[in-house]
Amino acid sequence: MTTRYLEIRQGVLSKNDRLAAELRERFARAGLLVANLVSSPGAGKTALLERLLAELRAAGWRVAALVGDLQTDNDARRLARSGAPVRQITTDGMCHLEADLVTDKLADWDLGALDFLFIENVGNLVCPTWYDLGEDIRVVLLSVTEGEDKPLKYPVMFNSSDVAVITKLDLAAACECDLAMLRENIRSVQPGARIFETSARTGAGLAELTAFLVQQRLAKQNGR
């Protein structure tokens, strides 16, 4: 019996990373932009997506969504009203989506027939952080009702996101939300984040967010 050292040098989540890399390649071949939406439960991911799907479709883009939840297909049914193809991933208790669940759900989808795919993750600001789903952009949402210091409480998730979307802007005054401080706290943990302020109810900020997504989609198509 001999003892020896074996160098490994790989991420702990190498299996998920490998599957995510395969997904990313598949998305690139199909030329579609994929966004992974993360937030705490109730921040308004589904409400924002309802608006985004409708607006992008109205502008002629081909959009689809995958929705993750622990239980129920309520969100998928809500989103399907937009007319876009929507599939629910029910994780049956698991608190985040992993690349293999996305791979399974997309197995028989013709991705070439899409321009945008939105993946609504399970509401959770911790565990989805580690699981790459092959997305082009990770979008973290936080509502004005959650407190200005949320980014400081969940720096790992905010730091892993490319875009931060402040939601429920119409409630900001009622909640006495200090938006300047909220933005400052987002920048503090993720200086590179693009920040959007939106309200799915009034439609505020949606045009800017939609324009940004379209620009990202075109940049991807043109090889950045």
Binding site: R4, Y5, L6, V12, K15, W130, N159
Partner: protein, 123 residues
């Protein structure tokens, strides 16, 4: 306790590498854990014992190297360590930096394995 899921993935990755190398047993696992990895060292160590049970890693030691968060500050033109993870602001000049140089690691560096001598000759 999300560290149990992380520990299970760790065991899966290590076990597959150890099997490929013909190991009969894994005795030590060396891990780098960044301050901004989001993983709690204590919880991971606790989960490790549970996750390794009944595997090639059972009874092995998990050795964790803590990696502090460091950014590159463009105005100071130096790499600086940060005292916490709530602010990516350079402690010298106060500027925010998006350039993280270290501190997000969740990486298996290597493992110590026991290999049967006959197996070793075959390799």
């Amino acid at each position: 306790m999300h560290e149990l899921a992380i520990a299970s993935s760790l065991v899966e990755s290590v076990q597959s590498a150890a099997r490929q190398a013909g190991a009969g047993r894994v005795t030590q696992v060396f891990l780098r854990l960044g301050a901004l990895s989001g993983v709690s060292k204590e919880a991971l160590l606790f989960s490790y014992d549970v996750a390794t049970h009944g595997t090639l890693l059972e009874g092995s030691r998990l050795i964790i190297e803590d990696v502090p968060l460091a950014i590159y500050c463009e105005s100071c033109r130096v790499e600086v360590r940060l005292p916490g993870i709530q602010s990516l602001r350079c402690p010298r000049c106060g500027q925010l930096s998006p350039h993280i140089r270290q501190g997000k690691e969740l990486e298996i560096v290597g493992i110590e394995i026991e290999v049967e001598d006959a197996m070793k000759e075959a390799i």
